[in-house]
């Protein structure tokens, strides 16, 4: 489990995160939402050790993050960045990279690595794409492969930065449903999302951010009723009750 305690971070001459305290809990989809530039991506990068903190603490399974090696962190936390390269390699090779944190020298993949890759591909429904070169896949298919790579890492926590951007609606819903399934398996899934309706519908818990701070944390119900999200984003939200629960929309 990742625990952020009074965390501050940023870039030279530009502090971004201010006094963030937040837990990424197992069995839960946590959506981080807020206006552009409020520090959502910075939060994920700092939680994963990709960006150095300026104050506060990040604990990974109660150990300070700086006490762990990059490999130890990678064995516990997978991270899907916002911008993703598309090298000319096959999809299965790409997913196999997810096993890198478990390799020791001379970096030969083992039977269990291949088994994990197959499992990850089947999890995201991309087994048939295994032999296809990545540049030949559609945006949605590539996203699935990236997700499979993160799953092949077999970590307790998965951080995804805007995993639904550039995807069509059906692919977006697939990603969100997959996030729920991963949470049901006991993983902590943290998503930075721009689609508030998706976040409110699928996340167990939502953290609303503004200007590098967390305004509110709570369930969709609490966030909807709290109105801080509407103030931060400058929008008005509505909802209707359906047989499947509440569905949210912009007014």
């Amino acid at each position: 489990m990742i625990r952020l305690q009074n965390l501050c971070a940023g870039y030279p001459g530009r502090p971004v995160l201010q006094d963030i305290t937040l837990n990424f809990l197992p069995g839960e989809v946590l959506a981080i939402i807020g206006p552009n530039g409020c520090g959502k991506s910075t939060l994920l990068r700092t939680a994963n050790g990709l960006l150095a903190k300026t104050a506060g603490q990040v604990f990974l399974d109660e150990a300070p993050l700086e006490a762990l090696t990059p490999k130890q962190i990678a064995q516990k936390t997978a991270y899907l960045p916002q911008s993703r390269a598309v090298p000319n390699i096959t999809a299965q090779r790409m997913v196999l990279h997810g096993r890198f944190p478990y390799l020791s020298y001379p970096r030969r993949y083992r039977q269990q690595d291949y088994e994990m890759v197959q499992k990850a591909l089947s999890w995201v429904g991309a087994t048939l794409l295994a032999d296809r070169p990545l540049p030949q896949l559609s945006g949605g298919q590539r996203q699935k492969i990236y997700l499979a790579m993160a799953l092949a890492q077999n970590t307790e926590t998965i951080l995804m930065d805007e995993p639904t951007t550039y995807l069509d609606v059906s692919c977006q819903l697939e990603v969100m449903a997959l996030s729920r399934r991963l949470a049901e398996e006991g993983k902590a899934v943290v998503l930075v999302l721009h689609d508030l309706c998706l976040a409110l519908q699928y996340a167990h818990r939502i953290a609303v951010m503004e200007n590098g701070r967390i305004l509110q944390t709570g369930t969709a119900e609490e966030v909807y009723l709290g109105k801080q999200l509407e103030q931060a984003m400058g929008i008005t939200l509505g909802r209707v009750e359906t047989s499947l629960g509440y569905r949210y929309f912009y007014k």
Binding site: P70, R84, P87, N88, R93, Y114, D131
Partner: protein
């Protein structure tokens, strides 16, 4: 599971076949290079010389003139091409190559300075070339990281640095005219007048650097995914980029130390091989090393045969054959909508 492993193995077959074909072409071009030139020697006689019972004249031609030349081509081709693969992967820039971003020119300046200050210290030149190449590559890395340079800015900055280093070489040669014997040959690049003793230090540098790069091919693959993804997979990306660039500098520097400023191999060969084997680093590095070695050997053969008994400089033949081929490749790629 077995069928999945089978399909994975099948996807590895094509690069393996290509590497086998390239290995064969290196062998054949080497035999041709030893047999043909101003004087043609039958292949049976070439083999006889290596088995120790060939004629004395043929033996002298092959062992003292053609063999060092062949080894120079093989080493320089393999080193420059694999250096190009590494630099392009680390800088995530397909336009980057040792001759484009000033690595070769940096090595050249260091060699010129070394020859001017320590004339006769031939064994020291690969080391000096390494330092020059490393300085060039680190400047590029600094520009790309600190200045937030885009791909094009990076190449333009490399071209500017290349010009500065080249001006430095010109200045050294102006003040120390004897520093670089056969200055124009050095500038164009070539493998004339080499000896096995002169090649020996560069051979070890290239062998060790290439083996190290191949052993780090998995890490190089991860860097292709971008620094953030690589780091999130547990790779110490910053340290590794520096290490890989140092290896690329060692490879390019060692080649420049005896073959001069040979351009193009580091750009042309990785591009061709990437189209044939994809971007997976191990087969790409291996095929580029073999492809570079075969290409330079064949170009050297052409340089000796086209206007025999006169010789064209190797760099000229390389540019005249490689340039149009590269342009054809780009046009074909554009037609295929993959430019």
């Amino acid at each position: 599971m077995k069928s999945w492993r089978k399909s994975y193995t099948k996807s590895k077959k094509r690069p393996a076949l290509l590497i086998l074909a390239l290995g064969t072409s290196v062998l054949l071009s080497s035999l041709l290079s030893l047999a043909f030139g101003a004087v043609s020697i039958p292949l049976t006689e070439v083999l006889a010389v290596f088995l120790g019972h060939g004629g004395e004249t043929q033996g002298r031609i092959i062992l003292l003139a053609r063999l060092p030349r062949l080894c120079g081509c093989l080493l320089a081709g393999a080193a420059l091409a694999s250096s190009g693969v590494i630099i392009q992967a680390v800088l995530s820039n397909p336009l980057a190559a040792p001759n484009v971003i000033g690595v070769n020119a940096g090595a050249g300046l260091a060699v010129a300075l070394c020859c001017a200050v320590l004339p006769g210290a031939v064994a020291f030149t690969p080391f000096a070339a390494f330092l020059g190449a490393l300085a060039g590559v680190l400047l590029v890395l600094f520009l790309s990281e600190k200045a937030g340079a885009s791909r094009i800015t990076l190449v333009l900055a490399g071209v500017a640095m290349s010009s500065i280093f080249s001006a430095g070489i010109d200045a050294v040669v102006t003040f120390f005219p004897d520093a670089l014997a056969g200055y124009s040959d050095f500038r164009i690049g070539g493998v004339k007048n080499l000896s096995m003793a002169r090649l020996a230090p560069a051979f070890w540098v290239i062998l060790i650097a290439l083996a190290a790069a191949l052993s780090l091919s998995n890490e190089l693959d991860l860097l292709l995914l971008g620094s953030e993804t690589a780091q999130s997979l547990g790779l110490p990306a910053k340290r590794l980029r520096l290490l890989l660039l140092a290896l690329a500098a060692a490879l390019a520097g060692a080649a420049v130390s005896f073959a001069g400023l040979l351009g193009f191999v580091g750009l042309l060969v990785p591009h061709i091989m990437r189209r044939l084997v994809g971007e997976q680093s191990f087969p790409l590095l291996l095929s580029s090393a073999l492809g570079g070695a075969a290409l330079l050997t064949l170009c050297d053969l052409l340089s000796r045969l086209l206007f025999a008994p006169f010789e064209l400089p190797l760099g000229v033949v390389l540019s005249l054959t490689g340039g149009p081929f590269f342009l054809w490749l780009l046009l074909r790629q554009r037609k295929g909508g993959r430019a």
